[in-house]
Symmetry: C2
Subunit: 226 residues, 2 copies
Amino acid sequence: MAEAAQRRVQHAEQRGTRRDAQEAILDAAEQVFAENGFHGATTRAIADQAGANAALIHYYFGSKEALFETVFARRAGAINAERRARLATLRAQGQPSLEQVLDALLRPTVALGHDPTRGGAHYARLVAHVAQGTDARSRRLTGDSYDAIARRFIEEIAAAVPGLDRVQAVHAYLNTIAIGIALMAPTGRAQALMAPCPAPSETLDEGLARSVRFIAAGIRALAAPD
Amino acid sequence: MAEAAQRRVQHAEQRGTRRDAQEAILDAAEQVFAENGFHGATTRAIADQAGANAALIHYYFGSKEALFETVFARRAGAINAERRARLATLRAQGQPSLEQVLDALLRPTVALGHDPTRGGAHYARLVAHVAQGTDARSRRLTGDSYDAIARRFIEEIAAAVPGLDRVQAVHAYLNTIAIGIALMAPTGRAQALMAPCPAPSETLDEGLARSVRFIAAGIRALAAPD
DNA sequence: GTCTATAGTTCGATAGAC
DNA sequence: GTCTATCGAACTATAGAC
């Protein structure tokens, strides 16, 4: 059949120029899961997006569930490694300011959302989805990938703000993440609410600086006696 | 068949003491949609939760999609009416403070999450889910139910904080809602991060006051020249 | 490794008895 | 209005050719 033959040729061409099918599936899954959630995504849609076959997903990952958890955990290590590296650089110069700590926490994830070339934006939306989930799997995945880094930053926040106790530092961290998650999910709400005025275009640094300023003032208000 | 007869008797008993089947379905749908999202929820699970039949959902609402939109819009009117009433009460006493405006915005929804008796908490989780969604339906539902009230509160925030321009007021509102949404979704993250120390129990007023203090300081920092 | 074909299940929705 | 029964479609996952 000419149709199948053409598909084979096309596929052979891709094999040389493109990355592994396994990685293509992970990238495609990142996008489809981010757009539709776990239940709304189908293995067929992921396979189509990857230019692969649905059966390959089970060959490589065993199940849709295992694929989802692999996708979620894949970038977490890199994000948290960058956060730790930024903290280490700051610590080498003495006690970092609260603003510096918050920038180290938020920048690696917010930068993903602004990544124009690759799928980091999809992961950002996926994290936003899972972090807000109340089901058992969402809690487990969030805890496994982000509990350790959370505790580290809670300590750093407490160290950067005299008079902030542990309970307040936990809330400071959670408020920071809440705003960070909202920044990552491109709901188009800011543009909608500024209409009919055009929303001013904003660089990553400008948006991040505004959020850091907002959060830092909020955290210091938690520590102030009144 | 005795089994069917018994079910009919049971049902007849319920008819007197319980509310309409239609309302029971809405309450059940609120819970099941909140726990599993739109795609993860099934009409059968909703019907079981409501003690009704799956066919009734289509009889009353036409489709799963229409049921979802009905559930989402049901409480929005009441929430926003309460917000407007609180604003009116404040306005009758002169220009309200930023803290008073933020309390009027957050309290009606956060109070839902603390409702111990019935399904307000489920709606809170549902709103959190939809507000973070990036798909077309989530954007439309959010806009239809919450755009008008958002613009009203953006004006109030700007009026309460001298020097805050419109763009900054929009971001102030969005940051407020981001923290409000995080407050509504009981992810158990605060308890997890405070472990092994026991999380101090907190009343609605205490938690709300802390969030308002945090947000108000953040918003004022947006208006400050440096 | 990658494909086609399909098994087995579950879904949303409908028809029709009562 | 509310039920039972069921349809057709879509899903995850697997079997087996290549």
